[in-house]
Amino acid sequence: MDDVNASYREKAVAFGEQRSLVGILTVPAGKHNDRAPHVILLNSGVIHRVGANRLHVRLARALSSVGITTLRFDLSGIGDSERRGAIPSLRESVERDIADAIDHLSTTQGATRFVLMGLCSGAFDAMHAALGENRVVGAVMVDIPGPFQTWRFIVYHLGERLFHFLSWRRPGEKAVFYSRAILSSVRTQPTAAGNGRYVIGGRSRAGRQRMAGQLETLLGGGVRLLVIFTPGVETNYNHRSLFRTTFPRAAAHPGLSFDYFAEADHIFSRDRERSRLVERVLAWMGNEPFGVAHDAGREAPRQPA
């Protein structure tokens, strides 16, 4: 049975190999806006498909009000989805899951273009899936883990505390703390070209040059990107300007939109910030000229099973 509401219809679906992936399809009460891509919402860490503080539910229902169909689903081994069998890596499992979700929307809804959206590990998964799937024409990436621990990162970290009176109450302890912070920042600096040693939810964090190349590949292929950060994960991102200074070419590209939610935490705990995020995504979806993505530099699309 479907959930029927004035502005949307929701249907619980099981799809993929052996129907092991579970999701909720939210369809506008009217017709899907043919000019808009379909949206797929990806898990944030191990939070199941409803999203952090039900963010995905709110997003899906808001998008339906402007004629956009969404699928929020659980990756294998998360929420209600079964774990896959013999899969060599987490990354391959995630890529197959997302490809299955795209195939499901293609088959059941006639969808041809897709926007992937995720927070934290979901943002990471959105970017990597977009690199391997030329039916993806857009991605919304919130608090994507990245190589932002540059010298500016250290300066911002220290600068914020330098003049704070309480920071100087125990100078000995502070000296130890800052020494460790600097050493830690140096150590967590991923290598320039390859994967860093640090991981997020089992996903290797890319180095600066590599991630720059990935972003530019997507933008060069016509993929529209909305990149949003919060100050919620201080060890990942601690100043509005870090994305622009870390990835200047991508940040200057007309296909990339950027926003910084200075008042939000990582999981958008405050209702007002969730509403702001939903409004930002709706505005972006409404304004972007999503076209047919080019596949320059991207892998060939996976054929539906």
């Binding site: 049975m1 479907d2 959930d3 029927v4 509401n5 929701e10 249907k11 619980a12 679906v13 099981a14 579970v22 909720i24 860490g45 191990v46 939070i47 199941h48 498909r49 409803v50 952090a52 503080n53 039900r54 539910v57 081994g77 998360i78 929420g79 209600d80 774990r83 987490l90 939810g201 089992g202 999981i267 958008f268 705990s269 405050r270 209702d271």
Partner: protein
Amino acid sequence: MNPFFFGRSESHLFGAYDSPPAGGARGAVLCYPFGREYLLAHGTFRLLARSLSAAGYHVLRFDYSGTGDSAGELADASEAQWIDDIHAAIDETKDLGQLGQVALIGMRYGGALAALAARGRRDVDRLVLWDPTSDGASYLASVGAPVLAAGGGEDAGCEVSGVVLTPRLRGDIEHVTHATYGHGLPRTLLLTTGTASDEAVPLRDHLTAVGVACTVKHVPDIPAWATEWGRAGAGMPVVAVNAIVGWMT
């Protein structure tokens, strides 16, 4: 597992139904805890559902109105609405399994809701209270709700760990006491997993005093509602789940 929506057309509820692989004539409805505890306990409830279905139960876990994938907003939710939701879930489970009776299993505030729903229903034959909330004020404090001045006032609503706690819902939760677990309850398992082995004693004494047949089990285990899991069920409270399945079978 079969995911589906059920209930009234204007306010459908999301349900996840596990049928017993080898068939069975018993049913169970699982009642989630509230707020952030719901998110954290989701994996444990999935494990419990699968374990019970393997033991021959038709199992339905579902999201209350305004939570999870169900219709509505939390701002419109109330204890009365959620008790109605449990009634709908009981009826749905009986339909799905062609059953005459079902068990209710509730964790934390879900335990209080399950007890309120079970009162006077002859088709609820067992009740499991998993670390139930029996002092609403302490519970609210434990999840970080700010302490209010006497009387509360119009502004008693707040946001707690990403959850909008309306004055109505806050009041509902605040009023949970031992008396919430009153007369007319079926055979009950009171399961505690904390470090103190005697934490269930006051509620057990109350249940016994009001004539409820009550079994107490203390099985120190991971607090399912307060622990973030790794992928694929790492670190689940298996001992507690097995204790429930053991008592149910």
